[in-house]
């Protein structure tokens, strides 16, 4: 379990996160939503150990401040919003970097093939020999996800659950790959790991989230199941946008929901 209590982050003189408290359970997909500038990415950077914060964050009971980088690397992997490279790495070489910490959880001979398996998982089989810089933004994002998956290949290691932090994992993906990536995150949680993802798509959130954390102005507005959290009132208050949950458009207006793809 990842637990935050009274976490505040100040950047420069501005308080970006104010007294955030919530728990993210192993075995669950926790989605953070909120408008631009509400502090989602800053909160995730604090969770990742990149930013100084006050309050307390624990991973599986270990306080974040007491963990060394390599100890944290064995407990969680982080997908950044975007990654640019200055050297001509191949896709496979990038994915292989996920094995840097040496705690993928796979046995040695499987670990050698892990980059290829992870690439197949994100629907990039056969891309190993391509140069990372030559790929499209969406493909690069999936390469990075494959790398991150290699780092915590087994969702549970030595009896301890491990975590995936995904910062807008589907932001530049087409609908097919949005679903594939959310399915991977869902499977990771089903197999005992924990996932914390930042999403902008409320339909995908509703479809996949076990718990939703709504952020607003640097504070945690509410935490709950999608049904509890996604209400007209709250969307109006948080997003300042009058939307009706569950309202269908006029008959002649086509609309496509991700929900229609499953089962």
């Amino acid at each position: 379990m990842i637990s935050l209590s009274d976490v505040s982050v100040v950047l420069g003189r501005k308080a970006i996160i104010k007294e955030a408290s919530f728990n993210a359970q192993a075995g669950a997909l926790t989605v953070i939503v909120g408008p631009n500038g509400s502090g989602k990415t800053t909160l995730m950077r604090a969770l990742s150990g990149d930013l100084p914060f006050t309050g307390r964050i624990t991973i599986n009971g270990h306080s974040l401040g007491h963990l060394k980088p390599w100890q944290m690397a064995a407990m969680r992997a982080i997908l950044p919003q975007s990654t640019s490279l200055s050297f001509p790495f191949t896709v496979r070489e990038i994915v292989r970097l996920g094995l840097t910490s040496g705690r993928s959880g796979a046995t040695h001979d499987v670990a050698e093939n892990l980059p290829d398996e992870a690439l197949a998982l994100v629907d990039l089989a056969g891309f190993g020999g391509r140069f990372y810089q030559e790929l499209s933004g969406g493909e690069q994002q999936r390469v990075q996800l494959a790398r991150v998956l290699c780092q915590v290949w087994q969702p549970v290691l030595d009896g301890q659950p491990r975590f995936l932090f995904l910062d807008e994992p589907v932001s530049s993906l087409d609908i097919k790959h949005q679903l594939i990536i959310m399915q991977i995150a869902h499977a990771f949680a089903t197999r005992g790991g924990g996932v914390i993802a930042i999403l902008h798509d409320l339909n995908l959130t509703s479809m996949y989230a076990d718990r939703v954390v709504v952020m607003h102005g640097g504070r945690i507005d509410s935490v709950g199941t999608p049904a509890e959290v996604l209400t007209d009132d709250r969307i109006l208050r948080v997003y300042e946008c009058a939307l009706k949950v569950g309202a269908l458009p006029d008959k002649h207006v086509p609309f496509v929901l991700p929900q229609s793809a499953v089962m």
Binding site: R45, S48, G49, D50, K68, P69, W70, M72, A73, A74, R76, A77, I78, P80, T83, S84, L85, S86, F87, P88, F89, T90, V91, R92, E93, I94, R96, L97, G98, T100, S101, D109, V110, N113, P115, D116, E117, A120, L121, D123, G126, F127, G128, G129, R130, Q133, Q151, I175, K176, L179, I180, Q183, A187, R191, S260, A261, V262
Partner: protein, 371 residues
């Protein structure tokens, strides 16, 4: 939306035969390293026999095998002295300096996430030169206690300190939150280089005739005057840097993703950067202390290798060391034969070849990054 896509099995079959997976260049890289090792041996042997005096390859090899002391008449006494006291120290030192220039270039490029970073181009060599020149000119006066403390090692230690200080300044100026702007780095390098040159100029102005002669070779860069004593003082710095560098490969690879991602992968980034900066400063400082400013090896060698084996630093660093050593020995062979019996400072040779190469890299990158 077909079901098959969403229902992709979580774990695919493993062990897909023995074929190399696409995009895995480690096998190629290992092969290249072996070849470069053999090439270096051949180059050293060639350098040992090339020169104004013509001792044959076979006689040189048999002399090396039998040792210096044994009374062999394969080589004349004159050739024996030329080989043991002049060429051998020069070749070993040249190989070490070539290796350390190339490795410090490769480490610096990985550290700055920037293929144009090179100690010579961004002013770090100038900083090392400033340290060394200070000792030469001020050693009898202001810096006398420094010389007393470090005695024989005063020159490389001073060059090391100069290189370290300049690297730290450069890093502080050019890097913000782990991102280095290419333009800022190169401009900061120009400023640092100009600053060092100003002080070196001032010191030159203060120098007496004997010191002036010592100073001249800094500006040109030369392996002439290599001897066992120089190797004993600069060698430990270079050997230490070269021995540590293979351990930097993993971290430099992770750093290619950015500092945050490297840290997420388990690399203690701040400590790692400190070690890498010290390696660069030690390698650059010692090289400059011995040979003055030999430019462009550090940018040309890693770049060529990245084209062939890719940027994986676990292989790039040892390969750079081997190719840097070979190329500098070849450049040295050119410099001492092209205007024989006189010899050209090697820095002229490396700059004549390296500077156009640097421009070519700039042209190639112009479309990719915004300078």
């Amino acid at each position: 939306m077909s079901e098959s896509v969403l229902m992709r099995p979580a774990v695919l079959r493993s062990g897909q035969g023995k074929t190399r997976p696409e995009g895995d260049r480690s096998f190629l890289a290992r092969g290249v390293i072996v070849l470069l090792g053999l090439a270096l041996l051949a180059t050293m042997l060639f350098s040992l026999t090339a020169g104004a005096s013509d001792a044959s390859v076979i006689s040189v090899i048999s002399a090396l095998v039998r040792g210096a002391s044994s009374d062999n008449n394969v080589l004349s006494l004159r050739d024996s002295i030329i080989i043991w006291d002049i060429r051998l120290p020069r070749i070993i030192l040249g190989a070490m300096i070539g290796a350390s220039l190339a490795v410090s270039g490769a480490v610096m490029q990985g550290l700055f996430r920037n293929p144009l970073a090179d100690p010579g181009i961004v002013g770090v060599s100038a900083g090392a030169g400033l340290g060394a020149v200070s000792v030469i000119v001020l050693g009898g006066t202001v810096l006398a206690p420094f010389i007393a403390t470090f005695s024989l090692f005063a020159l490389p230690v001073a060059a090391f300190i100069g290189a370290l200080v300049f690297t730290l300044i450069l890093y502080a100026v050019a890097t913000r939150r782990g991102q280095t702007s290419i333009a800022t780095m190169l401009l900061a390098g120009i400023a640092l280089g100009a600053m060092a040159m100003a002080y070196i100029g001032l010191l030159t102005f203060l120098a007496d005739d004997r010191q002036l002669r010592d100073l001249t070779f800094w500006t040109l860069g030369s392996l002439a005057g290599s001897n066992w004593a120089k190797m004993a003082t600069a060698g430990p710095f270079i050997v230490l840097a070269l021995l540590v560098s293979p351990f930097l490969g993993r971290g430099l690879n992770a750093l290619a993703l950015g500092e945050a991602s490297a840290s997420h992968l388990g690399i203690p980034v701040q400590r790692f950067k400190r070690v890498a900066i010290i390696v660069v400063a030690a390698a650059t400082g010692a090289s400059v202390a011995v040979s003055g400013g030999i430019g462009f090896v550090g940018v040309v060698v890693p770049h060529l290798l990245r084209l062939v084996i890719g940027p994986d630093h676990r292989y790039l660093l040892p390969a750079s060391a081997l190719l840097g050593a070979s190329l500098l020995l070849l450049a040295d062979a050119v410099s001492r034969t092209i205007v024989a019996p006189s010899e050209l400072p090697i820095g002229i040779v490396t700059a004549a070849v390296g500077a156009p190469f640097f421009l070519w890299i700039l042209l190639r990158r112009r479309g990719i990054v915004d300078l």
